[in-house]
């Protein structure tokens, strides 16, 4: 069975090669079919493995396959190998499942684009790289995927490369990600070297895990922090989040697939994959939870005052990623992955819905020029509403289960803290507010578009609405795989992942041993007092979400003028938020201008002043020396003769006068 797991990554690669090499001679329709089918085939393989897994006892749900030796150098032996277990399988299902829907959607959305085939080539390459990232069985294969998705992100953000802003946004994403990747690489090196000191030269997850406890705790803290720097870059957390809002320059389905559902969650995946290390580093966990909750809060507050439909969603994505980091930061890895999954459903759906709106509005993205689209785009409206309810955390929808799990864990887990819970809960209310602000301004009220645009508004073709409906369905029911115990469920999702997750500070020495599951379960079996508390907190967060929705309703539907009044009254604060706290400007002033200044300094002083002077100096010194020597060669034969004779005399004098010994 384990021999066919490589099929998962093979199909997208084939799709990429076919479209990339032969695409220009193929009809567009065929290229779209190739791209979509390759992802679907990959999804089918993942699903079949999933079914096989369900039939197996939890401990045997691991397929580890070394395909060929890749780097063999002394003690370093890296195989190109894949690993399918509960965690990577969940990721595979998300990537291929949501990816497939977005591929289908793209076939409709990009229909008129001249770069149609190129688009699908990149998209297939992206899925291949993403699958490599989640299925790699060692850190280097993971790193290849990690860099590969970064490359595809760059290519697709700058897809419309004739546009300056798109090309710049692509560069920004790539460069900011380099900072994170630098940390990731250093983390790999440090882990490899410190394990090597213990005599274990390996980068394989399954071999690192049993030896993780042997490492010096301080070193583990450094390793995990360095890995977290990589996650901060890829998953757009403070302080490296600025690339994600700019990444909205890419086509909307790309924002949906890469910058909401899959790639940006790679950081969360990586931390959960390495949870056996993180569980040994409580300091790092605290940093992660702190960065996560601050990012969630900060990004949500920016999202409140944005007017570009995609920018609102981008900040919302950053904020939700912050939630996931809170989860993994307090040791609730399963909750983080759970939220990752539901987020992939509803945020993917929100972006696709936004794409449908933009499509209908002839490219308009400013929500101030929208309104009243409810009747003209009924399917988009209903699915968008479902996604908004899900992200706001209305009971019964997917987002409710995953977000509440995180909030509860932030409150109750040993690593959690009331402050973290409080900030996260406020953020959840803000999320409900800005999402419904977006919904109300876009779909309700009067249409504020120009007559010409209004004339063209139409519901998207079926190719686009069917993925919307499927994702809408998933957003509705996706949470039921993880109903918490307190609501009478058994949190099957967490149970599915639990063989891979280390409970806090009690990692079994044998690594993947499952004996600790029972302990973990014992810990989660709540006392009646805790049950009451959990239900109370749940009710509170639902109330907060409802309050956020009501506030949005009040400000943007019932009293439309009120919001601008408030904005005018607190104009300073409003300007601060509307301009994203001027973070981009500050970064530009400090880092971009700083680097440019350093560059200019190097050009002027180091290059011109030192290097150029040195090079030119060599030449001119030789020239001057030559000028001196040149005088001897005056061209007067008599001068030469004099030289010869004088030389002869000197020689003679030396021979005659030298001491005879």
């Amino acid at each position: 069975m384990s021999s066919h797991i490589w099929l998962i990554i093979l199909f997208p690669l084939l799709g990429f090669l076919i479209n990339g090499l032969l695409g220009r001679w193929m009809p567009r329709k065929l290229a779209a079919w190739v791209a979509c089918l390759s992802i679907f085939a990959s999804f089918a393989v993942s699903a079949s493995i999933f079914l096989e897994f369900l039939a197996l006892p939890p401990a045997e749900r691991i397929l580890d396959l070394d395909i060929f030796p890749w780097i063999v150098s002394g003690d370093l032996q890296v195989y190109f190998g894949l690993r399918i277990d509960a965690l990577s399988l969940v990721m595979c299902l998300i990537v291929t499942g949501v990816g497939f829907l977005i591929h289908v959607y793209s076939a409709g959305y990009m229909h008129h684009d001249p770069g149609f085939v190129r688009y699908f080539t990149y998209l297939n390459l992206f899925v291949f790289m993403m699958l490599l990232l989640v299925t790699g069985n060692n850190l280097l294969v993971m790193f290849v995927g990690w860099e590969g998705v970064g490359l595809c992100s760059y290519l697709l953000i700058g897809f419309w490369y004739e546009k300056d802003s798109a090309a710049n946004a692509g560069k920004k994403a790539f460069i900011v990600n380099r900072i994170g990747d630098f940390g990731f690489l250093l983390g790999i090196f440090l882990l490899f070297v410190s394990l090597g000191d213990l005599g274990v030269w390996t980068l394989k997850f399954s071999e690192i895990a049993p030896h993780a406890t042997l490492l010096d705790p301080a070193v583990v803290t450094w390793i995990t922090l360095l890995f977290f720097v990589g996650a901060v870059g890829k998953s757009a957390q403070i302080p490296l989040y600025t690339w994600l809002p700019d990444a909205m320059e890419g086509p909307t389905p790309v924002s949906s697939l890469i910058h909401a559902a899959t790639m940006v969650t790679a950081g969360v995946y990586m931390i959960v994959r390495l949870n056996f290390l993180y569980s040994l580093a409580p300091d790092t966990m605290f940093v992660i939870a702190l960065v996560g909750v601050l990012t969630a809060f900060f990004a949500a507050s920016i999202g409140i005052a944005q007017n570009d439909i995609k920018k609102v969603l981008a900040y919302s994505t950053i904020s939700q990623l912050g939630f996931m980091f809170v989860a993994v930061g307090v040791g609730a890895y399963a909750a983080g992955i759970f939220h990752l999954m539901t987020h992939a459903f509803f945020k993917g759906l929100l972006f696709l819905g936004a794409g449908s709106v933009i499509h209908a509005m002839s490219g308009e993205q400013d929500i101030q020029n929208m309104g009243g689209l409810r009747k003209k785009l009924p399917i988009t409206y209903v699915t968008f509403l479902i996604a908004c309810l899900a992200i706001a955390g209305i009971p019964g929808l997917s987002g409710f289960f995953s977000k509440d799990e995180i909030l509860w864990k932030a409150f109750s887990a040993p690593q959690g803290h009331t402050i973290i819970w409080l900030l996260a809960a406020i953020t959840a209310a803000m999320t409900a507010f800005y999402m419904f602000r977006l919904l109300f301004t876009t779909f309700h009220g009067q249409c504020r578009a120009s007559e010409e645009v209004k004339h063209h508004i139409h519901e998207s073709p079926r190719l686009m609405t069917i993925p919307l409906m499927i994702l809408g369905f998933l957003s509705l029911v996706g949470g039921y795989v993880g109903i918490p115990h307190v609501l009478g469920g058994e949190n099957r999702f967490e149970k599915f992942l639990s063989p891979l997750l280390a409970p806090q500070k009690q990692l079994a020495a044998s690594g993947w041993d499952i004996s600790f599951i029972s302990q973990a379960w014992a810990a989660t079996t709540a006392s009646p007092h805790e049950t009451a508390l959990e239900i109370a907190l749940m009710a509170l967060s639902v109330l907060l979400a409802a309050a956020g929705i009501f506030l949005a309703y009040h400000l943007y539907l019932r009293r439309p003028g009120l919001s601008s009044d408030i904005a005018a009254r607190y104009s300073g604060l409003h300007r601060l938020i509307e301009n994203k706290y001027f973070v981009d400007e500050i970064y530009d002033r400090i880092f971009v201008q700083g680097v440019l200044r350093l560059g200019r300094f190097c050009a002027r002083f180091v290059d011109e002043g030192v290097i150029e002077r040195f090079v030119n100096g060599t030449g001119s010194t030789m020239n001057a020396l030559g000028g001196l020597v040149r005088r001897v060669q005056a061209g007067y034969v008599q001068g030469y003769a004099f030289g010869i004779i004088a030389g002869a005399i000197v020689l003679l004098a030396y021979m005659t006068l030298r001491p005879l010994y």
Binding site: R630, Q633, A634, G635, Y636, V637, Q638, A641, F642, I645
Partner: protein
């Protein structure tokens, strides 16, 4: 009679002639005079060879002299031809004005 003159006087004569020739070759400006000075140096060397050959009862010195005289004759022919060509080219045989080799 010649045998009565001590050899070191011959060497002295040779040295004086050579020095006169060398100084003349370096200092004079007229190419022909320079040329004559070179001939003078050659002949000073000839005297040395003859004297030394005589001193050691060897004919080698005399053989060298024959060669030198031959070469000197050839040199005179070539040298004078060069001067004629130079004069045609530059209208002078003043060596100060002939500095085509200047680097």
């Amino acid at each position: 009679m010649l045998q009565d003159i001590p050899p070191h006087l011959y060497f002295l004569l040779s040295g004086i002639l050579f020095t006169i020739g060398a100084i003349g070759a370096i200092t004079r400006r007229n190419a022909i005079i320079v040329f004559l000075c070179i001939e003078l140096m050659l002949n000073a060397v000839n005297i040395t060879f003859i004297t030394a050959g005589n001193l050691y009862n060897s004919l080698d010195g005399a053989i060298f002299v024959f060669f030198i005289m031959t070469v000197a004759a050839v040199e005179a022919a070539v040298g004078l031809a060069i001067f004629i060509m130079l004069f045609r080219l530059k209208d002078t045989i003043n060596v100060d004005e002939i500095n085509l080799l200047k680097g």
